[in-house]
Amino acid sequence: MSRQTAVQPSVSWRLSDRLGLAMAWSMGLLFCLVCGAIVAYLLVQGVRYLHPDLLWTNPRVASGQNDTGGFLAPLLGTILVTSVAMALATPIGVGVAVWLSEYARPRPLARVVESTVEMFAGAPSVVLALFGVILFRASFMGFLTEKNGGVVYGKGFFPAGAMLSLLALPLVVTSVREGLRAIPNHVREASYALGKTKIATIRRVLLPAVRPDIITGSMIGAGHAIGDTAIIVILLGDTFQLQGAGGVPLLGTLRGTGSTLTSYVFDNAPTGDLNQPNKAFAAALVLLAMVLVINVLVDVFGRRTREQKWT
């Protein structure tokens, strides 16, 4: 963006204007200060307490902070539950975005779909979590979670991932829709002129073109899903270790319960059940690093999207 190069002295301005300018500067600098303080504090505290072996050991029940182990299980849990969420949210989100942008045929339906997506974006995550509680307690959903003598437990990676995917869905939809909107119509028309059907055009022309948007959208969604705590605490069971259900290796783990870094931090904060601030800081730093990596990836892919030019 171009900037004014000529610097005006603000001495001659009206008082209200100068006040406004001073306000903008002071607020801006205050914000920088707060940001710097937060990041520095987390870095210092996190690095002080983060040992590599924390990443490789499972949490244990013990009395002292030295004996309670690390957070391998929560770390794996975070990765697992986010993968489940994105595996659900990405295809559904792309489907909804494509329908909204390319078909949207009964107009009222399209408007309803738009507001539905918006509703999911605005829904508090505790509400989604409670919805998950009812949904996955139903007996026909029983195959997804552990059962105990006919009673469906309703907690595990599938329920938590499914509800997190609802949290991520609007972000994927928005990003993909924006990408599709940026493709000029003549690209579609060129494809039709070659005799391709609409769905073939979508699959062979439009979707490859919006691939960076799909990746960006699901990354932003994953960033949201990683950070959520309420759904995890309510739906994942918040158990110390990954407790698989049934014998099949990965599927059993996914049907079982576990915890994530967010719930680990929540439990280890002074207000939580465990109260080990040192562990909480270390886990928070790891969590922050994951969010940072995701942000950088979004930036990289976002830049690639912007470089793409249609002529």
Binding site: M1, S2, W13, R14, D17, G20, M23, W25, G28, F31, C32, C35, I38, V39, L42, I92, G95, V96, W99, Y103, R105, P106, L109, V112, V113, T116, V117, M119, G122, P124, V126, V127, L130, F131, I134, L169, E178, T197, K198, I199, I220, G223, H224, G227, T229, A230, V233, I234, T262, V265, F266, A269, T271, P277, A284, V291, I294, N295, D299, R306
Partner: protein, 343 residues
């Protein structure tokens, strides 16, 4: 309509083209998403009904201690013939209103000025650092904000701001441990400000450069130009950012349950400044606080009633946002939030 036609064709078993089938599948997916939302609303309202039915409008009123009510609701599960539902949620509602309102108000003014600074007045190096930092802060998990709050701000308030005499004056009712309305509002402000800033800044950036240059060419100074033209024409973005941030603040449960003191108490502004140090607990935080008690049916109905109120407030919020933006739609840059076109 297209879907009905399609279904008709399907029944006739005349080979559908691949194209039509694809449209049907996508339509079905989209309808599935709508059904999911409807299911959420219906299920939650159905589960919430006993609590509302029993209390009527008194549900929203005050009276008695919320925490005691929750306890007796929970333990009434042992005697399912006479479940207790009496629940007066006013302290929780009031806490949510105070924290959300206070944080949105504070964050709005701060974010507006920060966004102006970032887009127009900041020197290049600061600008280049600030933009990614804002985006990072907007995606920091709320539990991390909660952790910082409970380990830094809460002890600070309890050690330096709350005096002995203040603590003694409320001794019979509550304890001032530092987990307070003030901590909740401050941390919530820090949490939602980056969301507002990034949306405000996108809106401000999307204002066509020519409009600003026209004003500058008339000899209007830089601040006045930006304030009168960029900020005014970015109003839809201001509304959008505020609504989004307010929704986030409303639904925030984890951070608030950590720093707000977690006591079902309604801080009373009539008490003077001390109300800032009084603990409270919002609606969302109450659900999280009591999730272990979902096993008790009366408690479950009560928690779902709280969720229903939250859901309804979120819906109202997005309606208000939509209604506020609607008049701008004809005259101003609605695409302002999307940005990009004018860069």
């Amino acid at each position: 309509m297209a879907i009905d036609d399609g279904l008709l064709l399907l029944e006739q078993e005349q080979g559908l083209s691949q194209d039509q089938r694809a449209e049907l599948w996508l339509g079905a997916l989209v309808c599935g998403v709508i059904v999911l939302l409807l299911a959420m609303v219906v299920f939650i309202l159905a589960q919430a009904w006993p609590s509302f039915a029993h209390n009527g409008l008194h549900w929203f009123g005050s009276g008695g201690s919320v925490d005691h009510q929750i306890e007796s609701i929970f333990s009434s599960a042992n005697n399912l013939h006479r479940p207790i539902y009496t629940f007066h949620a006013w302290p929780l509602i009031w806490s949510t209103m105070l924290t959300t309102g206070g944080a949105v108000l504070l964050a709005f003014f701060a974010s507006l000025f920060v966004a102006i600074f970032m887009v127009e007045f900041a020197p290049r190096p600061i600008q280049r650092v600030l933009e990614p930092v804002v985006r990072l802060l907007a995606s920091v998990p709320s539990v991390i904000y909660g952790l910082i709050g409970v380990l830094v701000l809460v002890p600070f308030i309890s050690n330096h701001l709350v005096t002995q005499s203040e603590n003694a004056s409320v001794e019979p009712v509550i304890q001032l441990t530092g987990g307070s309305l003030l901590a909740a509002v401050v941390i919530l402000t820090v949490m939602i400000a980056p969301i507002m800033i990034s949306i405000f800044a996108d809106g401000l950036r999307a204002v066509p450069r020519g409009w600003l240059e026209g004003s500058l060419a008339l000899g209007v100074n830089r601040w006045r130009t930006f304030w009168k033209i960029a900020v005014l024409s970015a109003r839809p973005a201001l509304v959008a950012g505020t609504v989004l941030a307010a929704a986030r603040a409303l639904g925030e449960s984890v951070m608030l349950s950590m720093v707000s003191g977690s006591v079902g108490f309604a801080p009373n502004p009539a008490d003077g400044l001390i109300f800032l140090f009084e603990p409270s607990r919002g609606l969302a935080a109450t659900i999280l606080h009591n999730t272990d008690e979902l096993s008790s049916p009366p408690m479950e109905h009560t928690l779902f009633a709280i969720a229903a109120v939250l859901m309804f407030s979120a819906l109202m919020l997005s309606l208000v946002g939509w209604a506020t933006k609607a008049p701008f739609r004809r005259h101003f840059l609605v695409g302002g939030v999307a940005g990009g076109e004018h860069r």
